[in-house]
Amino acid sequence: MTVSAPAAAAPLRRLLRFIGPENLSLIIALVLLVAVIASQTEFFFSARNLFNIGQNMAVVGLVAVGMTMVIVSAGLDISVGSIAGCASVVCALIVSQAGSVPGGILGGVAIGLLLGLVNALIINYLRVNAVVATLATFSAFRGIAFLIAPEGRPVGVLNESFALLGSGRFLQIGGFPGIPVAFAILVGVALAGHVVMSSTVFGRQVYSMGGNPAAARLAGINLNRMRLWIYAISGGLSGLAGVIVTARTSSGQPASGTQGLELEAITAVFLGGALLAGGKGTVMGTMLAVLLLAVLSNGMNLLGIPTFYQLVAKGLLLVLAVAIGQWRMAASERRQARITAAGGGV
């Protein structure tokens, strides 16, 4: 029996192990995509463009970290964009009327957590399927966002230090445009998410309940309590995403900027290798997929491909990603069938 890899792995192998060998195909796809785009336009590798990509990833990326957790637990959260809309309005109201930036940020995240808890409560205690429950709150929360925005209109926020959260940068040296603050936040959240999912009891339990809820329950996992945490985290991260949208646009937006976030986040999670049935998926895979999607959309912009085509391309990519996943699973099952039929013990 072989147990784990040798301790003295080459740096490259250690990097691959950190990212996860199952994500190799994503990396290859990313490299190919970058090669194609870069061959068409020199501007792609310019510092300013890379800065833009990093900046554009942040909002979807934050939502996708939470979505990874939800989907691995065999759930789904369609309401994330609406939650972000609510958070954006709440955050803008606090910053513009109370003048408190930390208060605004906390308020936005807190309303996200709260709405996430509402999702979990509906799923747990009204026994509504997660897809249906969050489809309902997808609509309801968007309505609430418009209701709390005075006259249903965007709430302007004129606060320079708050705006830094959306468009600020650091390490700006010479011609180097620096690192976007929002991107740095994403990196921090993603790393935290990675650690939680891979190296905590909580993370293990998320994988277990997603893989087989009945077995997880008999192994002592309280599924309802897990769901409260999972949907609250997803809601909280969506709230944070809403806060960043507010900072970037200098306004609390009930809809604009957060519409369609659920689609992009779910796309990224599946593209990143998660199973709809649950039990599989990694934050690393999701982040690579977010990067892939950001590069794709950036590249198509640079090449002057109209937005409508981009939407079609993203849809195709999702189908392709899931189809490849299915194909790989079927291939592995076929291999397995042969082995079990032939050899019994693997």
Binding site: S4, R204, G211, N212, G220, I221, A277, R338
Partner: protein, 505 residues
């Protein structure tokens, strides 16, 4: 001599790196029951899949009633008259029994509408014709069926007009002894009607009881064709494993120690006034028919199902177990009957599955590394000789016996005071079975209190220090090891024996 009904000639099949079947020849005559035995991986499933058209053979020839079906696809194999009764049948949960029986082959009326009335009538006719009246309702939904009823649906599917050869794959693994008798009556009837029967089973007593000839496979090679009347278990086992195997397992008598589990006057939706006691180092066997409430009793004690009255005491202290997490915290372990549905997270690794019950204990400030888990459960997995290429292997890819060992490893790692095992050797091959028995025996010797629920009479008799029998949610008085016989347990399960005072077990 007339040509055999099913004639398999020198069939071979290889998969990358493995020779699954070599030059296998086998003939089944009309009105003959041929048993196919061998350990897991011996090639039985491969042969059944070739016959059913799921696999293509590499060499050789298969003839069914004279027609060449060597390269038949699943539909052609069915049309030629071959039917397989699967061990774990696919049942559609939301349609009726009648629809499940005819799924894919619905009888039609004019305009192409499905003829539900004809379907129901036919199912009822088949049930009464083969002696299963009252065991299954044609209108029941797939979801509501017990494992035994599910199996019956699969049998009804096979009994379509035009069937010539029926293969049963481990047909008795979810049946009680009474149901096994009914199945045997069915097989004898099919035999008398001139069908050819292939009977695949790990249970040698049954094989000896029902078959005319026994074909033994080992590593894809035929190691014996035995006339049932002239052979015995020892010879079959020797040919299966190539070594003598102590299949009659006996435990030493245990000394009496302190009581670990004390259940008093427990009632629930499934039970009435159940009382029992298990001491440290003792194995209490629970017999009874499938559906008598044995699994539910285990789940009520474990907190997975609610109780309505009664007390559960552990080591002399009252407990309030309302969820499995409470039971685990109180040092109870439970290995459920259906390990795929309730025991294992199939898409996760061996390590993760084995560490599931000790995660919290292993973690430091909530942090738990894979290396920590590996260090904790690796030795247990090695000790149980789980055959897996690595600890990171997905559990779903292991064989049945090895999957069961992973479930056991989980509880071994947790070291419970009370371990509840529901059908611990269901669908496990002979070799792994003996290992699991030795393990259970050792755990008891180390002082664990163990409750074993089993429908396999020899298993129950060999493992248990005392046996209680459940019938319709009530427990019989305990039967001591010395007084326990197969007849007595069966009589208690069926309610044909007078049960002395219902004193606490």
């Amino acid at each position: 001599m007339t040509a055999p009904l099913l004639d398999i000639r020198a069939v071979g099949k290889s998969f990358p790196g493995v020779r699954a079947l070599s030059a296998l020849s086998l003939a089944v005559a009309a009105g003959e029951v041929v048993a196919l035995v061998g350990e897991n991986g011996a090639g039985k499933s491969t042969l059944l899949k070739i016959l059913g058209g799921d696999y293509r053979l590499d060499e050789g020839e298969v003839r069914l009633d004279g027609a060449d079906v060597s390269h038949a696809d699943p539909l052609e194999a069915r049309r030629a008259g071959f039917r397989l009764v699967r061990q774990e049948p696919e049942i559609v949960p939301d349609i009726t029994v009648a629809e499940n029986v005819f799924v894919g082959e619905y009888p039609r009326r004019r305009l192409g509408l499905v003829d539900f009335a004809a379907m129901r009538a036919e199912v009822r006719a088949r049930l009464s014709r083969y002696g299963f009246t009252g065991m299954l309702e044609a209108d029941a939904t797939g979801r509501s069926l017990s494992p035994a009823q599910t199996h019956l649906v699969e049998i009804l599917r096979a009994l379509q007009p035009g069937v010539k050869v029926v293969a049963f794959d481990e047909p008795t693994s979810s049946l009680t002894s009474d149901e096994v008798e009914r199945l045997f009556a069915l097989i004898r009837r099919l035999r008398s009607e001139g069908l050819g029967i292939i009977y695949v089973s790990h249970r040698l007593k049954e094989v000896l009881a029902i078959s005319d000839r026994i074909v033994v496979l080992k590593d894809g090679v035929q190691t014996g064709v035995l006339a049932t009347a002239a052979t015995g278990e020892d010879e079959i086992v020797r040919r299966m494993v190539g070594r003598e195997l102590v299949h009659d397992f006996h435990r030493a008598e245990t000394t009496r120690a302190e009581v670990v589990l004390e259940v008093e006057h427990l009632s629930s939706r499934w039970h009435r006034d159940v009382s029992l006691r298990i001491r440290a180092g003792e194995i209490l066997g629970i017999g009874g028919l499938v559906g008598a409430g044995r699994t539910e009793l285990a789940k009520v004690i474990f907190g997975a199902l609610p109780k309505s009255a009664g007390t559960v005491r552990l080591a002399g202290r009252d407990t309030d177990i309302r969820a499995p997490s409470d039971a685990i915290a109180a040092n109870i372990g439970f290995a459920p009957e259906n390990r795929k549905a309730e025991g294992l997270i199939l898409v996760r690794s061996v390590v993760e599955n084995a560490a599931l019950a000790v995660n919290r204990r292993l973690a430091r400030a909530g942090l738990l590394r894979t290396a920590t888990m590996t260090a904790a459960v690796g030795p247990v997995i090695r000790q149980l000789e789980v055959r897996t290429p690595s600890l990171d292997q997905e559990v779903g890819k292991l064989s049945g016996g090895n999957q069961q060992k992973v479930v056991l490893a989980r509880w071994l790692a947790a070291g419970p005071r009370l371990l509840i095992l529901d059908e611990p050797t269901r669908a496990v091959d002979v070799g792994a079975k003996a290992e699991i028995y030795r393990l259970i025996d050792r755990l008891a010797a180390e002082g664990m209190a163990i409750m074993v629920i089993s429908s396999e009479m020899p298993e129950l008799l060999a493992l248990s220090d005392r046996i209680v029998v459940m019938r319709d949610g009530r427990l019989s008085a305990p039967v001591e090891k010395r007084a326990a016989t197969e007849e007595r347990i069966v009589a208690l399960a069926l309610g044909t024996a007078a049960d002395p005072a219902r004193t606490p077990a």
